[in-house]
């Protein structure tokens, strides 16, 4: 992290409450262009909520959020964008979900074209070129005409990644994207994500795949009960955690972190 690097996402003091439950309790994070941030923590600690606040799928209760040159302040001023403005804000952020959420009435190709065509009003032939390139990149060049129901979970998730990438987002958010997959399909999705990281995609990744975190993350954020309990370079946080809660959480994964790459 050099001081000259460009900040893509800057979150400060972000909070989100659901009624009496405060799911995110003051999280701050800075992500530089091309950086991969991995967020880990026990189930229910607020990882998804944090991620969903970044593209405003949830409305934060307090804090500030900057994506690219767009700053949103959730303080007293309440400058939450609305309508078309909100849609435009989200269009610059790609997000991939645990359950893929592909559009079942569209083929793989149409799914990937949907963002450029519907949101950006890109002419169809142009969008098709973009979509075919992306599907080839995620290893699905031969599956463009398949409907989601005729694809495996791993293939569906790769289409979902291509669909998000088709908007040429400034940053990609991944929320436990391999958690719903059969174990033998996890690798193909992680490989695609590694490739994106190598290509310089800025990403925030919520995952329980510690080997992925070790290999790909520039920065690791450890959350517990809505707060960041540890934050820093991947090797340091994963191998030499300072916080006892991080240590106890990581102890469950020790075999994976220690394992050498074949």
């Amino acid at each position: 992290m050099t001081s000259s690097s460009e900040v893509m996402v800057k979150v400060e003091g972000l909070r989100k409450s659901y009624g009496n439950v405060e799911a995110v309790r003051g999280v701050s994070l800075e992500v530089d262009r091309g950086q991969v941030v991995v967020v880990i923590g026990p189930s229910g600690c607020g990882k998804s909520t944090f991620l969903r606040c970044i593209n405003l799928l949830e409305k934060p209760s307090a804090g500030t959020l900057q994506v690219g040159d767009r700053l949103v302040d959730f303080g007293a001023t309440h400058s939450m964008p609305r309508g078309r403005d909100l849609a435009r804000f989200r269009a610059r952020i790609g997000m991939v979900f645990q359950q893929f959420d592909l559009f079942p009435h569209m083929t793989a190709l149409q799914n990937v074209m949907s963002g450029p065509v519907i949101v950006k009003k890109m002419p169809k032939p142009e969008a098709e070129t973009v979509a075919r390139d992306l599907l080839a990149k995620v290893g699905l060049a031969a599956f463009t005409e398949r409907f989601p129901r005729n694809l495996s979970g791993g293939q569906q998730q790769r289409v979902a990644i291509a669909r998000a990438m088709a908007m040429a987002p400034e940053i990609m958010l991944f929320d436990e994207v391999t958690s719903a997959l059969d174990p033998e399909l996890v690798g193909e999705v992680l490989d695609v994500m590694k490739q994106l990281a190598t290509d310089g995609t800025t990403m925030i990744v919520v995952t329980h795949e510690m080997a992925f975190a070790r290999d790909v993350a520039d920065q690791v954020l450890v959350m517990d009960a809505g707060q960041v309990v540890e934050q820093g370079r991947a090797e340091e946080v994963l191998l030499r955690p300072q916080n006892p809660r991080t240590a106890s959480f990581l102890s469950r994964f020790h075999s994976t972190i220690g394992e050498r790459k074949a």
């Binding site: 593209n55 799928l57 979900f97 949907s114 669909r163 998000a164 908007m167």
Partner: protein
């Protein structure tokens, strides 16, 4: 028992009223199509209103739906035919006043069908569309409605079948549909057995193919 033995069926006489039968059938079909179409438009509008996040909008729609679902259709038809003109202090054309109750009744059920179709779509579809940057209108038009309409069609066809049968209640306000036409022919021929049997058969011939079609639609949507 003696009657059953000596009774001589005579459909010939009854069916000779071809012109009347044809008119009755036309009226039944016209009220079916008209009130179903009207109800459908009401259903789409009210169904969309139910998605608005304001109780001032959704509450009146809820009351409308519940009032029409929880009162007998016969009462609605009679009320709109005889009572509404008094309330409004205007003369409504008979054919129009007669169809009002039926239309609003269909509208109430169509609203429920429309709403049910929309909310049956997985919330992941909404969040994936929003995450791509779609506006509410874009995601409705391109993502939600194409999936939801497919699910709305079978219940809608079923409700339309019921609606066609329900038009026979127009009998009470003297609209010359199949049923009322039947009663006129009875008073002319004194042949209620043949006449009402013919009426029943006519409804059956129209509706049986429709129910088969509805069943096929349902099977196709399920796969």
């Amino acid at each position: 028992m003696i009657l059953a033995v000596v009774y001589k069926w005579d459909f010939g006489l009854v069916l000779s009223y071809t012109h009347l039968w044809a008119k009755g059938l036309g009226v039944t079909l016209a009220y079916s199509v008209g009130t179903i179409a009207g109800g459908m438009i009401i259903g789409v509008i009210c169904g969309l209103l139910l998605l608005v996040r304001s109780r001032w909008v959704t509450l009146p729609v809820h009351y409308y739906v519940e009032i029409f679902r929880c009162t007998p259709l016969l009462v609605q038809i009679v009320w709109f035919y005889y009572a509404l003109p008094i309330v409004l202090q205007v003369e409504l054309p008979d054919w129009f006043a007669a169809g009002l109750g039926l239309t609003l009744y269909m509208g109430a059920f169509a609203t429920e069908i429309f709403r049910g179709g929309i909310i049956s779509i997985d919330k992941g579809q909404w969040q994936a569309s929003r995450a791509l940057g779609m506006t509410g209108g874009e995601l409705m038009r391109h993502i939600i409605l194409p999936q939801a309409t497919k699910r709305m069609i079978p219940p809608f066809v079923n409700q339309s079948i019921i609606q066609l049968k329900n038009t026979s209640l127009l009998y009470v306000v003297a609209i010359p549909d199949l049923m009322y036409t039947g009663s006129i022919i009875v008073s002319d021929t004194f042949r209620p057995l043949e006449v009402y049997t013919s009426v029943a058969i006519a409804y059956f011939i129209i509706l049986y193919p429709l129910t088969l079609w509805a069943a096929r639609l349902e099977a196709r949507v399920d796969q």
